[in-house]
Symmetry: C2
Subunit: 328 residues, 2 copies
């Protein structure tokens, strides 16, 4: 018996989930749901049907876990609690300040309907959160540092694209190597925003645009760039297409702490992700947690969980004895 | 109410647990048990009593979790199932081939007595195992690689010390940088034992010993050194004392895998530990899992578990809402 997965939202993340299911023989893609015209959406998997998002509840007996692939700003706050009425659900909700209320909303409908919902799954929040938690659990009272990149920030790229005279843009967030080194040394440095990351922008300007003005606007943009050392490169649309069309990302969680009666020994725990495709990796994490949601629900659990609440064994299709034999 | 911890076995690991408890305000050291003469053992924590190991069962109402700090060869196979009759237990059992039978033995007595036992806790097995499991769960069907070092191998150091003419010795296991790089590149290389690690030995010879013969014996020692590129340095006892008295260790778990419809994107997950003190870090992991054992048992669970079976939230003294707010 395979776990039947539904995808709601067929953008980069939805397609990533579809690809991840190929790597998980214990799962099958049951259906894709979209808010676009279903006839306009072509999925990769032969024989899989596309339905309107409104029809999802009708498929509640044909899908074990619905993976929500919408955005955190407006889609997930509505969709995840709603879908938890009919399905076990997994999402990648990443608006940090709103996690408590999202958790409560999903918990309520999931408990009422007897489903499991796992929210904020991906790499940050997600795998990075896990590493912050394990680090703090093992070496409590110590400092942890999260660095992002080198990778494309969609939000910052969008912010540049909204500037007058900009045709297209791509922004990379880059951790500062000397900051990484100082954290790795165990010195527990206090690092400002500027000391941790730099921002590099590749911009395609419209013909005749005032490049100097665009650059100034970027560099001084509050919240997005003003607190960082930012570099701006003007390039052609062709060059952008050729060298900057991927969506790589990644980063580091570094936790350092002391042990010993007089805190005489230092320890550094470093977790590093280097991802060719940010959405596809996030999708792979979502898919693994879909297995967990299904199995937890089979065991009688219900309500909302985060990655913190899921024992690692639930992510694997192997049973306990096999896991201990192969991976412990 | 604090969690009352007992320590059985007061060597490096036991002392490490004692130090770790200092960093965990929700725990207290209740008692230390030893197979030596209790009068000969001086602990660091004021007011804590040392008892004979035989007396442990008498303290069953005064201790919430017993952390077993003996060796895997002969101590733990007997002690952990025995102590699970009276306490929740945590151990660092690391004889890989015997984990299934150890698991079953602990499971049996822990279930009968209504306790939780968590075995094979530390960094390998332990944190490294978790990273192998998370990697395999997220990117199934991909390769993972474990490298150890740079660090002191106690077993290899002991093997050298047993050679005729050797007074003292310290052996470092060192991962080969080019092997690390080839794994990080995502090329999924097939690496031989020799390609993954080198071994570096610092040896204090007895006066008049045949150095050439000692070196040959080390380099050609089956299982321990014959399959590795090994370097031998003869040094004085003073130099050994001054430069090689620590017990650092660490290593890498690197998991790389592909995503995308045609496996076109590569991802590298790297976990790296750099530890000044191997036993103290292991002790810190044991202590965090002692909290988990206690809390799981409070929730009514019983029987044997590994790190795979414990949801990460149980390692922290913070509650779910606080964890989501601070670390998710």
């Amino acid at each position: 018996m395979t776990i039947r997965i539904g995808i709601l939202g067929y953008g980069n993340l939805g397609r990533g989930v579809e690809c991840a299911i190929k790597h998980n023989p214990d799962m099958e893609l049951a259906a894709v749901f979209t808010r676009r015209d279903p006839g306009s959406v072509n999925v990769l998997t032969a024989g899989v049907k596309v339905y309107s998002a409104d029809e999802a509840p009708l498929k509640k007996d044909e899908i074990d876990v619905m993976i929500l692939c919408g955005g955190s700003a407006t889609d997930l706050p509505v969709q995840t609690p709603e879908m938890a009425k009919y399905f076990n659900v997994v999402d990648s909700f990443d608006t940090h300040a709103k996690i408590p209320q999202h958790f409560d909303a999903v918990d309520k409908t999931a408990k009422e309907s007897g489903h499991v919902g796992i929210i904020s799954v991906g790499w940050d929040p997600g795998m990075f959160s896990l590493n912050r938690l394990y680090g703090n659990g093992i070496l409590p009272g110590s400092a942890d540092y999260t660095f992002w990149g080198k990778g494309v920030s969609q939000g910052h790229s969008d912010a540049i694209r909204r500037i007058d005279g900009v045709k297209d843009a791509r922004q990379y967030t880059i951790p500062v190597e000397s900051a990484l080194e100082s954290v790795r040394s165990g010195s527990n440095p206090n690092l400002t925003t500027r000391q941790k990351h730099t921002r590099e922008c590749f911009v395609v300007a419209e013909e005749g645009a005032d490049l100097r003005k665009i650059e100034d606007t970027i560099i001084n943009m509050p919240n997005y760039f003003a607190d960082y050392d930012t570099t701006v490169h003007f390039i052609s649309q062709e060059e952008l297409q050729q060298n900057h069309s991927g969506i790589p990302h990644g980063g580091f969680v570094i936790h350092s702490g002391k042990t010993g009666w007089e805190d005489e020994n230092n320890h550094v725990i470093e977790y590093h992700l280097k991802l060719d495709s940010n959405p596809e990796f996030t999708s792979s994490v979502l898919t693994a947690y879909a297995r967990a949601a299904y199995r937890l629900n089979q065991e009688g659990q219900r309500g909302c969980k985060s990655v913190f609440d899921v024992a690692p064994a639930y992510l694997s299709s192997l049973d306990g004895a096999e896991l201990r034999r192969r991976l412990l």
